[in-house]
């Protein structure tokens, strides 16, 4: 257990080392958020939608704030896979899946917390319709927090599968870019899922990608009623368990193959 905790602390220290870069990245993301909201406001001016603009602006800010939860590729890990030095990790007395799961989780948690706190603080200060609106109610807030946490567990499980998958290809960059794009589109980062065509909603909201950020955000804004929350949390948990199981299986197959190949 202590070993896993150490991984966690190390990541935090590494993240803190790049404060200057983080500041630049933060301002850049703030800027992207503003641009997106300006665009949606202009679109809404022509044709208002059932989902109010204040929900959309909240959606954008929450996506920006937790961006690092979705997309935070670990360059060390990717390099390890490419150079084959991942073989060292195979010799460690740790459960490999858990080790990587913790590593990914730590990076996503620390990265998104460092980004989310200042981002949400700034977003709260922006005027109504531009910034982050308060949650739809106490129950909305109370259900969106566990949903966000399950989303974090879910995205870590998902990334661990990606990792196992890319271990099999010699040059993981192409595959990673492809999977990342899929995630960005269907997690609602490029365009809020609420603005996808209505006929798509039954499908896209049930995909694992929607469980990461879209579900917690919709609970927060009230697009999902509080009464629907148990069902949503259940769906999220089900995907998390399924993805973790699939990842575990994948890693086991990989490990066997590597042992056979002699590293």
């Amino acid at each position: 257990m202590r070993a896993y905790w150490c991984v966690f602390r190390m990541r935090r220290r590494m993240e803190l080392q790049y404060r200057g870069a983080a500041l630049g990245g933060f301002i850049c993301q703030l800027f992207f958020g503003l641009i997106l909201i300006a665009l949606y406001r202009a679109l809404y001016a022509g044709k208002p939608q059932a989902v109010p603009i204040s929900h959309i602006s909240s959606y954008v800010w929450l996506q920006q704030a937790f961006f690092r939860m979705l997309l935070a590729t670990d360059p060390d890990l990717a390099d390890k896979i490419r150079t084959g030095s991942i073989a060292y990790d195979l010799c460690r007395p740790l459960h490999l899946y858990t080790y990587y799961y913790v590593r990914i989780l730590a990076q996503k948690l620390v990265g998104s917390l460092l980004r989310a706190v200042p981002m949400l603080a700034v977003a709260c200060l922006l005027p109504e319709g531009w910034g982050l609106a308060s949650p739809a109610g106490a129950s909305a807030l109370l259900t969106s927090l566990p949903a966000l946490f399950i989303g974090l567990l879910c995205v870590s499980a998902l990334e661990n599968i990606t990792m196992a998958f890319t271990m099999r290809t010699l040059d993981p960059r192409g595959m990673q870019a492809l999977l990342n794009m899929l995630m960005m589109v269907f997690a609602g980062n490029i365009l809020p899922l609420t603005l996808f065509p209505d006929s798509w909603q039954p499908i896209i909201t049930r995909l694992p990608y929607a469980q990461l950020l879209d579900a917690p955000i919709r609970l927060y804004t009230g697009d999902y009623a509080a009464s629907a929350a148990p069902g949503i949390l259940l769906l999220q948990s089900a995907w998390t368990v399924a993805l973790a199981a699939a990842g575990l299986l994948f890693w086991r197959v990989n490990q066997k193959r590597m042992v056979v190949q002699g590293g």
Binding site: G24, G25, I27, F32, L43, D171, A177, I190, L191
Partner: protein, 266 residues
């Protein structure tokens, strides 16, 4: 003349180098196609839901998007040395090997990298432009075609110039260089759409500081037969020159920074 030949030969070597690994190249090109395709899909979904953006019809929006994409990715394809490799060369001290050769630094950096994978993104951009041109029923004429070329060429210069800011800041060892992404990638994203939908500060930013509006949007609006900023027709031909002015200014900044280059590494 010799410089152009040098550039062409360098590009030839670059492309040959990358084709040494055909499977990886193909995979990455495909990934680029999916990435750019995803962005384009978002635009289509937006149009599907909202039908129009102020006075801009779907065809106009496709055309704007395509023009930006083509210009930006052409720059990344052929100017990769400046848009990608340059800051890395400064950080690692690799720039030394260029400084000991009797050619301009910028020319050599320009020659030092290419990104042929971007061809996939350029293809998506061209498709978007063609789609926009058909939907908006653009009546193409020689002046319009020339203006389009002018716009892309000066857009190329503008984007190179913006990336020079990053290189300059890296030399001055400014820590928050990611800030320049607001101008480069942020500008690219923002100016996928016509500039007049944004609030005034953003419009000023993309007209004066990073004049995408003058270089790309005014010509595009003229080609589409729509007014933008109420400029007269001759202005459409003059505005793209702003790209050259920006490049000149940022290049001067870069020259000043280069004097502080300290060649890290052994």
């Amino acid at each position: 003349m010799n410089t152009i030949r040098l550039y062409c030969r360098s590009m030839g070597l670059q492309i040959r180098s990358q084709l040494q690994y055909p499977a990886s190249f193909l995979m990455q090109t495909l990934a680029q196609l999916v990435m750019e395709g995803g962005e384009f899909m978002a635009l289509m979904l937006v149009i599907d839901r909202f039908d129009r953006l102020n006075q801009w019809m779907p065809g106009d929006l496709f055309f704007f998007y395509g023009l930006m994409s083509v210009t930006f990715y052409l720059t990344e394809c052929f100017g990769r040395g400046i848009t990608g490799a340059f800051p890395y060369m400064i950080r690692t001290g690799q720039l030394d090997t260029l400084l000991v050769r009797p050619r301009g630094v910028l020319i050599q950096v320009f020659c030092s990298a290419a990104d042929p994978r971007r061809i996939a993104c350029i293809a998506v951009g061209v498709a978007s432009m063609v789609l926009g041109s058909i939907q908006a029923r653009i009546a193409w004429s020689l002046p319009k075609a020339l203006l389009l070329l002018e716009s892309i060429a000066f857009g190329f210069l503008l984007i190179l110039g913006l990336f020079l800011i990053e290189a300059s800041l890296v030399i001055w060892s400014v820590k928050s260089v990611e800030l320049t992404n607001t101008l480069t990638y942020g500008g690219r994203s923002a100016c996928d759409y016509p500039i007049d939908i944004y609030p005034r500060p953003l419009r000023i930013l993309f007209t004066v500081v990073a004049p995408f509006a003058l270089v790309l949007h005014v010509p595009a609006a003229w080609i589409l037969g729509k007014p933008l900023y109420g400029w007269p027709a001759w202005a459409a031909f003059l505005c793209p020159l702003a790209g050259a002015v920006s490049f000149g200014l940022f290049y001067a900044l870069f020259r000043r920074a280069l004097r502080h280059y300290r060649s890290t590494g052994s």
